[in-house]
Amino acid sequence: MPDKSSRNESLQDFRSWGCYPRLHSSVVPLHWTTDFPLSDPPSTAMLPVGLGRSYGDCCLLDRGTLLHTPGMSRFLGFDPNTGVLRCEAGISLAELLTFAVPKGWFLPVTPGTKYVTVGGAIANDVHGKNHHGAGTFGRHVPRFELTRSDGSRMLCSQTENPEWYCATIGGLGLTGLITWADIQLRPIVSRKMAYTGTKFNGIDEFLAMSGASSGVDYTVAWIDCVSRGNNFARGIFMQGTHSTEPEKLIPSNPPRLSVPVNMPAALLNRYTVSAFNSLYYHKQIGRVKHDAIDYEAFFYPLDSILHWNRIYGRHGLLQFQCVLPVSDGERGITSLLRTITATGLASFLAVIKVFGDIPSPGMMSFPRPGITLALDFPVRNTISFALLDRLANITMDHGGCIYPAKDARMTPRQFQAFYPQWRQFARFIDPAFSSAFWQRVTAHA
């Protein structure tokens, strides 16, 4: 009894960002890189989790033990000449930016939220608006330490244990615990981003704009997934580059807005979302808008509202992100959008981007050359699930692939078709580790 007092043994409802599915696990906080392997190993499977910003179930484990890493958040070294930062893997990108920005350095690649850990960014090999020029996050992690449940510690890089390096980048946390990592930062001289927003009408226009902006650092588009007819596939193509005019580099303020409770799911219906989409589209008055905006507003517009996922109500939300090869991309994306608009299921955070062809070292990485589309839906009985199944089938028909970090629905057959290398990858999984996602997509079909 007293020995147990050192660990939290109660089953907790650790939630992913989508709040779906809901599974119970015990949570063991890790505060030091030496806390793992646990002195008193659990009888259940284990899985490292960071800030739980994956949407689906890749950061969950039913009746397992979650190794909660955000307590491991120390900086271990920084070389101001090369911009290589070494830090413990539980540190968040927000903490990293608070440290690096005043020194004139920025993340090499950032997802749409800074509330993810470095370990999570590696395990999901996250991508950002600069994928076409910089590739995935994992490409900028020259070295890290992987600790296995048997206590062995491996330095991993392109030259040291290279097969483990490749398996762990995009390895969904299954290959062991990443204890620390080196990250190659990029220099900046200002917080400001030179921003251009351009309205488009239709996928062909979007693709033409993407093609013409391959030299721009960051590109992404918001796309209206509700409107039909003349407004079908309208959107705003957004481009940004780090400002080159030197300016004082001060750290960001913490957010002040928060969604305190789950909102009634009925608030998000096709009328409110349709109104939102129109407002968003018409907020920009001219066809082209130039502006200088802070990097927080450019990269992390939703981070300024804590717990924004609660607007989807207590049932949570489902995300869908796929990538389709460019060759058949326009037809495929049109088919996906027609399916979505036909159901009228609300999605007001839809983004579309063209991925570049820079390969990731990650064996199981999601990003690959093509057009990627990401959207979210409220969990609403069977309609949402039926829609996701249809979208997955269209993705499959067009030779595409679905992003595990955002998935709660792929079938084993689909996953194994998207990631045929999964069997080779499985050899690198720590025998004591598993995840709800992995159990789902490798179950016998």
């Binding site: 007293p2 007092s5 050192s6 660990r7 939290n8 906080p29 505060h31 030091w32 890189t33 030496t34 307590g71 120390r74 900086f75 271990l76 070294g77 920084f78 413990e88 440290f99």
Partner: protein
């Protein structure tokens, strides 16, 4: 005299791997502070050292010691003074919660709590008080607990270790306060640290970084006693007023 002083630049941290102490040091590091850190676990000390150096500390000396071993105190503290040149700020942060149920019926368990939280701190404070009195400067901050304000069935062994500490520090302050030495008793409520993570969450729970910010503000303002969060000063004022006759029958 200015209201807000310069942050201390030569800092000794005892129990340097405790969550609150680490956050205090992290806040001080960017101003180029020199540190001397003492804790039991050499690997943890190394990561704290790396963290503080990366954040901008000018130098970080480390020393592995079990602070319950009072015989080692003079050696550890003289080394700290030698390495730092002058100790301007000493933070004593080590402590254990212990297991009340065990300690209330098993003397060795109670003794362990009292040795760690009270006697070892007394030994450190004796040395540091003489040091500061001699150099006619310095801030001594000790992390105690709001629990020391009253004895409750659920934690009175821990609480009495902190109560003893509070009175001891009050006396020290009375002795050396007139010589320019600042003695700060820190009384946090429930803090979300590894020490408390097995307990259910409480009202007014503070994070280590909130506590650290408040500690440095209290140091700058030369406060004697800092309840954290501040509202606890008012709450505990009334809790102390509850008559003993009523208090003893309360379910606490």
């Amino acid at each position: 005299m200015p209201d807000i002083q310069q942050p201390p630049s030569r800092v000794l941290v005892l129990g340097a791997t405790s969550a609150i102490a680490m956050e205090v040091a992290r806040l001080l590091a960017p101003s180029g502070t020199r540190f001397f850190l003492v804790a039991r676990n050499p690997q943890k000390l190394q990561s704290v050292r790396a963290d503080l150096l990366t954040l901008g500390a000018q130098s970080v000396g480390i020393c592995t010691a079990d602070l319950r071993d009072t015989d080692a105190h003079a050696r550890v503290l003289s080394r700290a003074a030698a390495v730092l040149g002058t100790i301007e700020f000493a933070l004593i942060a080590h402590g254990i919660l212990g297991d009340q149920r065990k300690a209330q019926s098993d003397y060795p368990a109670a003794e362990d709590i009292l040795r760690t939280n009270f006697l070892s701190v007394v030994s450190l404070v004796i040395w540091l008080t003489d040091y500061f009195e001699h150099s006619r400067q310095g801030t001594l901050a000790v992390i105690s607990s709001v629990a020391g304000d009253r004895g409750r069935a659920s934690n009175y062994v821990y609480a009495s270790s902190k109560a003893g500490l509070n009175i001891f520090l009050e006396g020290v302050r009375n002795r050396v306060g007139r010589h320019g030495v600042h003695v700060l008793t820190i009384l946090p409520g429930f803090v979300l640290t590894p020490m408390t993570e097995h307990l259910p969450h409480r009202m007014l729970a503070a994070t280590p970084s909130e506590v650290a910010r408040r500690i440095l503000a209290a140091v700058a303002r030369r406060e004697d006693v800092a309840y954290i969060p501040g509202i606890l000063a008012i709450i505990m004022f009334f809790v102390r007023l509850i008559p003993r006759r009523i208090f003893k029958s309360m379910n606490l």
